[in-house]
Amino acid sequence: MSPERYKEKKPSLVTAPVAALLSFFVPGLGQIMARRVQRGLLMLGAMVTIIGLFIWRVNLLGRRVDGFWPTLSKALERNTFFISFTILAIVALWVWIVYDAVKQTRKGKQYGNAIFALILLVFFGIGWQISEIDIVKLTSDANEAWLPLSKILWPWDAAVTRSTESLEAGAEVLVDSEGPAPPKPERVEGEPYVWVEPREGELSRLDDDNNIIPGTEITVYGEGFAPETRTEIWWSDAIGNEFQPRYQGRYVSTVTDEEGNFEMTMNMPYRLVPPSARGQQIHKVIGRQVSEVGPLLPSDPLVLTIELIIETIFMGMMATLFGIVFSVPVSFLAARNLMSSSWITLLIYYITRTILNIVRAIEPLIWALIAVVWVGLGPFAGIVALTIHSIAALGKLYSESIESINPGPIEAIQATGATKLQTIMFAVVPQMIPPFVSFTIYRWDINVRMSTVIGMVGGGGIGFLLVQYIRLLEYKSAGIAVWFIALTVAILDYVSAEIRQRFV
């Protein structure tokens, strides 16, 4: 703060009524003419911004209505509180600014910054509306979030599986087409056996209003299965694609009696048959008993997660390595104390600094989008993206640690008659190693954490898998990935903190 501010201010250029009038027509102009230029400009800027934002929101709220008053009244109807609050606030501010202009024409210090508190309050009010904050939603739909959340929090039953053995038999049926019905299958001694009556019919269909018209009712008979065991009914269409039909949302199934037989009825399921399908449509009804056998095995999501978390950690390591290799030379160009000897080096310093700042300002995720186009999908794209960002971030940190080395020891070593190289090795390097190690570990930490998300845009690593599972609504598999990410980051946090402590 310059001492000027504490001096008696020069007299106002205008009288109080004129200042009030000026501020009435242009908020803040009165203050400017009273030699409170910054104050006046701030008020003018605030009012212009507030009114501009208000007009924008009113137009959004009152869409598809013509004319000023209809638009305003529709907006008022849709968000009474916001519109009336803002109008009141604008009027209050306007009056206050006029009053303030009068005050500022008086001699002596005329502060009073309560008006800026009101301006800030109006900005927060508008911000609340623009960012669509709706506290009711926090509770109204909370129960829907609970299901995925609980699966993600405890996904471990999906982490193991057993191999399965199935006992099955099928019978063919003719659907939606002319022709001889397929024969009743042959019975083979010692093997399960399924037959269906009738052996022809029509599939369920949708009418024009998307209501289901049930298909032909059929009876499925089974023999020779394991007794008193759940038996799934599967359906295989004309080209051999199997699916498990549902009835009222549940999979169709039955339970065998004590002799291993069953008998159940069902409607032929809905299956879209392509219009180009011609001739006989032979489908197949399958009875199937699935039993888990053998030891617990890691499930596919678990194995994939482990594979990709390893890939992720190494992505972070490689990106850090390349980051170090390139950022060390860059950091010398970005260190002011080394580059201030002539205007050419100073120019190089400013250019390097600017480039580093720009590159660093662009998030690794955005670099990954570019890298995916550049080198294709996969972990290498992630490494490229993280390397670019690491060079900028490490270059800045390294150069700052070069700038902050203590010149005293350098002077002392020079005074012993040491050569330049000896001076660097004995006075400069020992001072630079600790911050270098510290920043590098810190960056490695960041890179591994970043590589967990960089896969979301195709940059390889576990993020790729995580996004896939979430989009497929496989929350348990996603939960496994989330757990591994959290564990990796936690372990890394601890390790990097430990290593840094040793060196600093």
Partner: protein, 263 residues
């Protein structure tokens, strides 16, 4: 013998730190430079081993002009001049022993020393130097683990490794309390008396100057304003001292712990 003739230093920003300074240091002198902060003491000492390049004048060390020396000659001159500093200027993260060993760098082939390899003879020499200043047991500690007095002793041991014929001491006790000040200056005095190493030392307190100096020069705004020998100093009054120092001069009872706090 060190002869300084018409030494002038002008910094790039136009500051004239030294104006036409001339004086002579005989072998075995304990010459103290007095003067306010900013009077040019540090610049003068650093011009002698050309840590700061002088603008004009001559600095003759045993007849050889230091200012005209090329890089190789300068390094040979520097290794004959030990230097100790107000803030010790140790490499904090290196061990005490490494700091002392670095005093020998001017004598060692560069490539071996870069790998931090020193002949065992040099290592023994370093331990002996540490022993001389009484901290041989701290050799393997990191330099920043030591107290201020111990660190300045490391600084002296580092200077000793150079087998110097002269020691430049830039306010060596300004960061230490009065008792330690006597210990450190005592080491310098012993060296000065035993081996005829001449000492150039800048000091702030009249009592210390009167106790240790055999010659005194006073600087004010870069100009040599006082020159005296041992007798002159003994008779020097607070008024004369104040003339050099301006109004800020203070006498500190450096010999007692209960002495006033330093300025």
């Amino acid at each position: 013998m060190l002869e300084i003739k018409n030494l002038t230093k002008v910094y790039p920003d136009g500051t004239r730190a030294l104006k036409n300074v001339s004086f002579t240091v005989e072998d075995g002198d304990f010459l103290v430079v007095i003067g306010l902060s900013g009077s040019g003491k540090s610049t003068l000492l650093r011009c002698i081993n050309r840590l700061i390049e002088p603008t004009e004048g001559q600095i003759l060390l045993d007849g050889q002009d230091i200012i005209k020396a090329d890089n190789q000659e300068l390094r040979l001159i520097r290794r004959r001049i030990g230097m100790i500093f107000q803030h010790f200027n140790l490499v904090d993260r290196s061990s005490v022993l490494t700091n002392v060993l670095s005093g020998k760098l001017g004598y060692i082939t560069p490539w071996a020393s870069i790998l931090h390899k020193f002949p065992s003879k040099v290592r023994n020499e370093a331990l002996a130097a540490l022993n001389k200043v009484g901290i041989a047991d701290q050799a393997n500690k990191r330099a920043d683990e030591l107290s201020g007095g111990q660190r300045q002793r490391v600084g002296i041991a580092r200077a000793l490794m150079q087998n110097p014929s002269m020691i430049l001491a830039d306010e060596p006790v300004a960061s230490l309390d009065p008792v330690l000040a006597h210990t450190i200056l005592g080491y310098l005095e012993d060296l000065n008396k035993e081996t005829q190493i001449s000492v150039l030392c800048s000091l702030h307190y009249l009592d210390l100057v009167q106790r240790y100096a055999t010659k005194v020069i006073g600087l004010k705004d870069g100009v040599l304003v006082y020159q005296g020998d041992r007798e002159d100093i003994r008779e020097m009054t607070d008024e004369q001292f104040k003339e050099i120092y301006g109004e800020e001069a203070k006498r500190v009872s450096a010999g007692t712990l209960s002495g006033e706090v330093r300025e």
